[in-house]
Protein backbone atom coordinates (compact mmCIF):
# COMPACT_ATOMS: atom_id res chain seq x y z
CA UNK A 1 0.00 0.00 0.00
CA UNK A 2 1.35 3.41 -0.90
CA UNK A 3 1.90 6.15 1.60
CA UNK A 4 -1.17 8.39 2.01
CA UNK A 5 -0.85 11.84 0.48
CA UNK A 6 -0.28 14.84 2.68
CA UNK A 7 -3.35 17.01 2.45
CA UNK A 8 -2.61 20.17 0.54
CA UNK A 9 -3.86 23.31 2.21
CA UNK A 10 -6.08 25.41 0.00
CA UNK A 11 -6.95 28.86 1.26
CA UNK A 12 -10.02 29.35 -0.92
CA UNK A 13 -11.57 26.96 -3.43
CA UNK A 14 -12.10 28.21 -6.99
CA UNK A 15 -15.38 30.10 -7.28
CA UNK A 16 -16.41 28.36 -10.48
CA UNK A 17 -17.34 24.81 -11.34
CA UNK A 18 -15.36 24.77 -14.57
CA UNK A 19 -14.58 26.35 -17.94
CA UNK A 20 -16.02 25.47 -21.30
CA UNK A 21 -14.71 26.40 -24.76
CA UNK A 22 -17.12 28.06 -27.19
CA UNK A 23 -17.17 28.19 -30.96
CA UNK A 24 -16.22 24.54 -31.30
CA UNK A 25 -18.30 22.20 -33.43
CA UNK A 26 -17.77 19.09 -31.43
CA UNK A 27 -20.07 18.79 -28.44
CA UNK A 28 -18.84 18.16 -24.94
CA UNK A 29 -16.98 14.95 -25.46
CA UNK A 30 -14.24 15.04 -22.97
CA UNK A 31 -13.04 17.03 -20.01
CA UNK A 32 -10.01 17.47 -17.79
CA UNK A 33 -10.36 17.43 -14.04
CA UNK A 34 -8.45 20.23 -12.39
CA UNK A 35 -7.94 19.53 -8.68
CA UNK A 36 -8.37 22.25 -6.08
CA UNK A 37 -4.71 22.02 -5.12
CA UNK A 38 -3.76 22.48 -8.78
CA UNK A 39 -5.92 25.57 -9.03
CA UNK A 40 -4.28 26.83 -5.82
CA UNK A 41 -0.80 26.14 -7.23
CA UNK A 42 -1.54 28.16 -10.38
CA UNK A 43 -3.04 30.93 -8.28
CA UNK A 44 -0.10 31.18 -5.89
CA UNK A 45 2.62 30.90 -8.53
CA UNK A 46 1.17 32.87 -11.44
CA UNK A 47 -1.43 35.16 -9.92
CA UNK A 48 0.09 35.99 -6.53
CA UNK A 49 3.57 35.72 -8.12
CA UNK A 50 5.10 33.74 -5.29
CA UNK A 51 8.13 31.56 -5.72
CA UNK A 52 7.66 27.82 -5.37
CA UNK A 53 9.26 27.63 -1.93
CA UNK A 54 6.96 30.24 -0.39
CA UNK A 55 3.94 28.73 -2.08
CA UNK A 56 4.80 25.20 -0.95
CA UNK A 57 5.12 26.36 2.66
CA UNK A 58 1.72 27.98 2.48
CA UNK A 59 0.17 24.78 1.20
CA UNK A 60 1.96 22.65 3.80
CA UNK A 61 3.83 20.51 1.27
CA UNK A 62 7.45 20.24 0.10
CA UNK A 63 8.80 22.35 -2.73
CA UNK A 64 9.25 19.37 -5.12
CA UNK A 65 5.65 18.29 -4.43
CA UNK A 66 4.46 21.81 -5.16
CA UNK A 67 6.44 21.82 -8.41
CA UNK A 68 4.81 18.53 -9.42
CA UNK A 69 1.30 19.78 -8.69
CA UNK A 70 2.01 23.02 -10.56
CA UNK A 71 3.29 21.05 -13.54
CA UNK A 72 0.25 18.78 -13.74
CA UNK A 73 -1.97 21.87 -13.43
CA UNK A 74 -0.25 23.58 -16.37
CA UNK A 75 -0.40 20.44 -18.46
CA UNK A 76 -4.09 19.95 -17.81
CA UNK A 77 -4.87 23.53 -18.76
CA UNK A 78 -2.72 23.21 -21.90
CA UNK A 79 -4.54 19.98 -22.82
CA UNK A 80 -7.90 21.67 -22.38
CA UNK A 81 -6.79 24.62 -24.53
CA UNK A 82 -5.32 22.62 -27.37
CA UNK A 83 -8.00 19.95 -27.51
CA UNK A 84 -10.78 22.49 -26.87
CA UNK A 85 -12.26 20.49 -24.03
CA UNK A 86 -13.92 21.44 -20.78
CA UNK A 87 -12.11 22.02 -17.48
CA UNK A 88 -13.91 20.77 -14.41
CA UNK A 89 -12.75 21.55 -10.91
CA UNK A 90 -12.76 18.65 -8.46
CA UNK A 91 -11.85 18.41 -4.80
CA UNK A 92 -8.64 16.32 -4.92
CA UNK A 93 -6.49 15.93 -1.80
CA UNK A 94 -7.19 19.39 -0.54
CA UNK A 95 -7.70 20.63 2.96
CA UNK A 96 -9.71 23.81 2.97
CA UNK A 97 -8.20 25.85 5.70
CA UNK A 98 -10.43 28.44 7.26
CA UNK A 99 -9.21 31.39 9.22
CA UNK A 100 -7.05 30.31 12.07
CA UNK A 101 -5.74 32.82 14.55
CA UNK A 102 -2.85 32.59 16.98
CA UNK A 103 -2.65 34.42 20.31
CA UNK A 104 0.63 36.27 20.79
CA UNK A 105 0.47 35.92 24.56
CA UNK A 106 -0.30 32.25 25.11
CA UNK A 107 0.36 30.78 21.63
CA UNK A 108 -3.11 29.23 21.51
CA UNK A 109 -4.49 28.66 18.03
CA UNK A 110 -8.21 29.10 17.43
CA UNK A 111 -10.96 29.91 14.93
CA UNK A 112 -13.50 32.67 15.18
CA UNK A 113 -16.86 31.53 13.79
CA UNK A 114 -19.32 34.02 12.31
CA UNK A 115 -21.43 33.95 15.45
CA UNK A 116 -18.69 35.46 17.64
CA UNK A 117 -18.06 39.17 17.35
CA UNK A 118 -15.14 39.86 19.69
CA UNK A 119 -11.73 39.39 18.19
CA UNK A 120 -9.83 38.15 21.20
CA UNK A 121 -8.12 35.02 22.47
CA UNK A 122 -10.79 32.65 23.89
CA UNK A 123 -8.45 31.51 26.64
CA UNK A 124 -6.53 34.49 28.01
CA UNK A 125 -8.80 37.23 26.53
CA UNK A 126 -5.79 38.92 25.00
CA UNK A 127 -6.43 41.26 22.08
CA UNK A 128 -2.99 40.51 20.65
CA UNK A 129 -4.06 37.98 18.06
CA UNK A 130 -2.70 37.33 14.60
CA UNK A 131 -4.18 35.70 11.54
CA UNK A 132 -2.33 32.59 10.40
CA UNK A 133 -1.79 31.70 6.73
CA UNK A 134 -2.52 35.06 5.20
Amino acid sequence: MSRPKTLRKVVAPPNFKGYKPYGTHAGTRDSVELLYEEYEAIKLADYDLMNHLEASKLMGISRPTFARIYETARRKIAKAFVEAIEIKTVYGDALLDKHWYVCDDCQTRFTIPKTIEEHQCPLCKSEQIELLNT
Partner: protein, 105 residues
Protein backbone atom coordinates in the same frame (compact mmCIF):
# COMPACT_ATOMS: atom_id res chain seq x y z
CA UNK B 1 -22.20 29.46 26.90
CA UNK B 2 -20.92 25.89 26.96
CA UNK B 3 -17.36 24.76 26.33
CA UNK B 4 -16.07 21.25 25.74
CA UNK B 5 -12.59 20.37 26.96
CA UNK B 6 -11.10 17.02 25.99
CA UNK B 7 -9.97 15.22 29.12
CA UNK B 8 -8.11 12.00 29.93
CA UNK B 9 -10.03 11.38 33.16
CA UNK B 10 -13.38 11.88 34.82
CA UNK B 11 -12.55 14.76 37.15
CA UNK B 12 -11.27 18.32 37.04
CA UNK B 13 -7.76 17.34 38.10
CA UNK B 14 -7.33 15.01 35.16
CA UNK B 15 -4.82 15.73 32.48
CA UNK B 16 -6.07 17.55 29.37
CA UNK B 17 -6.28 15.13 26.39
CA UNK B 18 -4.61 16.41 23.23
CA UNK B 19 -6.59 14.10 20.98
CA UNK B 20 -10.05 15.14 19.87
CA UNK B 21 -11.94 12.20 18.36
CA UNK B 22 -10.25 9.65 20.59
CA UNK B 23 -10.13 11.64 23.80
CA UNK B 24 -11.17 9.54 26.80
CA UNK B 25 -13.70 12.03 28.21
CA UNK B 26 -15.38 15.23 27.21
CA UNK B 27 -15.69 17.80 29.96
CA UNK B 28 -18.66 20.11 29.35
CA UNK B 29 -18.13 23.35 31.20
CA UNK B 30 -20.96 25.83 31.56
CA UNK B 31 -19.68 29.38 31.88
CA UNK B 32 -22.85 30.70 33.51
CA UNK B 33 -23.33 28.10 36.22
CA UNK B 34 -19.60 27.15 36.47
CA UNK B 35 -20.66 23.51 36.44
CA UNK B 36 -18.74 20.72 34.79
CA UNK B 37 -20.27 17.54 33.43
CA UNK B 38 -18.12 14.65 32.25
CA UNK B 39 -19.29 12.62 29.29
CA UNK B 40 -17.54 9.42 28.25
CA UNK B 41 -16.38 9.31 24.66
CA UNK B 42 -17.74 6.11 23.14
CA UNK B 43 -15.64 6.41 19.98
CA UNK B 44 -12.25 5.97 21.66
CA UNK B 45 -11.59 2.58 20.09
CA UNK B 46 -13.34 2.95 16.76
CA UNK B 47 -11.02 2.43 13.81
CA UNK B 48 -12.38 5.28 11.73
CA UNK B 49 -14.66 8.27 11.85
CA UNK B 50 -14.00 9.01 15.51
CA UNK B 51 -13.48 12.71 14.84
CA UNK B 52 -16.70 13.00 12.85
CA UNK B 53 -18.74 11.20 15.51
CA UNK B 54 -17.23 13.28 18.29
CA UNK B 55 -17.97 16.45 16.32
CA UNK B 56 -21.58 15.31 15.78
CA UNK B 57 -21.92 14.62 19.49
CA UNK B 58 -20.60 18.07 20.31
CA UNK B 59 -22.89 19.81 17.82
CA UNK B 60 -25.90 17.97 19.29
CA UNK B 61 -24.97 19.18 22.78
CA UNK B 62 -25.27 22.77 21.60
CA UNK B 63 -21.73 23.72 22.53
CA UNK B 64 -20.09 26.90 21.26
CA UNK B 65 -16.44 26.19 21.97
CA UNK B 66 -14.19 23.12 21.86
CA UNK B 67 -10.73 23.00 23.41
CA UNK B 68 -8.41 20.21 22.27
CA UNK B 69 -4.90 19.50 21.03
CA UNK B 70 -5.72 19.12 17.36
CA UNK B 71 -8.66 18.50 15.02
CA UNK B 72 -8.78 16.27 11.97
CA UNK B 73 -9.90 17.73 8.63
CA UNK B 74 -13.39 16.17 8.80
CA UNK B 75 -13.98 17.32 12.36
CA UNK B 76 -12.74 20.80 11.41
CA UNK B 77 -15.17 21.03 8.50
CA UNK B 78 -18.10 19.87 10.58
CA UNK B 79 -17.42 22.11 13.58
CA UNK B 80 -16.84 25.01 11.24
CA UNK B 81 -20.18 24.43 9.53
CA UNK B 82 -22.03 24.61 12.85
CA UNK B 83 -20.11 27.69 13.99
CA UNK B 84 -18.34 25.99 16.85
CA UNK B 85 -15.18 27.76 17.89
CA UNK B 86 -12.13 25.49 17.88
CA UNK B 87 -9.26 26.18 20.25
CA UNK B 88 -5.94 24.33 20.02
CA UNK B 89 -3.65 24.18 23.03
CA UNK B 90 -0.13 22.87 22.52
CA UNK B 91 0.73 22.51 26.22
CA UNK B 92 1.35 18.97 27.40
CA UNK B 93 1.15 19.44 31.15
CA UNK B 94 -2.13 21.15 31.75
CA UNK B 95 -5.12 19.89 33.71
CA UNK B 96 -8.80 20.47 32.95
CA UNK B 97 -8.92 22.61 36.09
CA UNK B 98 -6.08 24.77 34.76
CA UNK B 99 -7.95 25.46 31.53
CA UNK B 100 -11.17 26.30 33.36
CA UNK B 101 -9.28 28.75 35.56
CA UNK B 102 -7.85 30.44 32.46
CA UNK B 103 -11.30 30.60 30.90
CA UNK B 104 -12.98 32.21 33.89
CA UNK B 105 -10.35 34.81 34.76
Amino acid sequence: MKTVITSSGENNLAQFDKRFGRAAWFCVFDEETKETIFIKNTNTNSSNGAGTKAAEQIVSMNVQKVISGDFGPKAKDLLDKFNVQMVIIQDNDVTVQGIIEKLTT
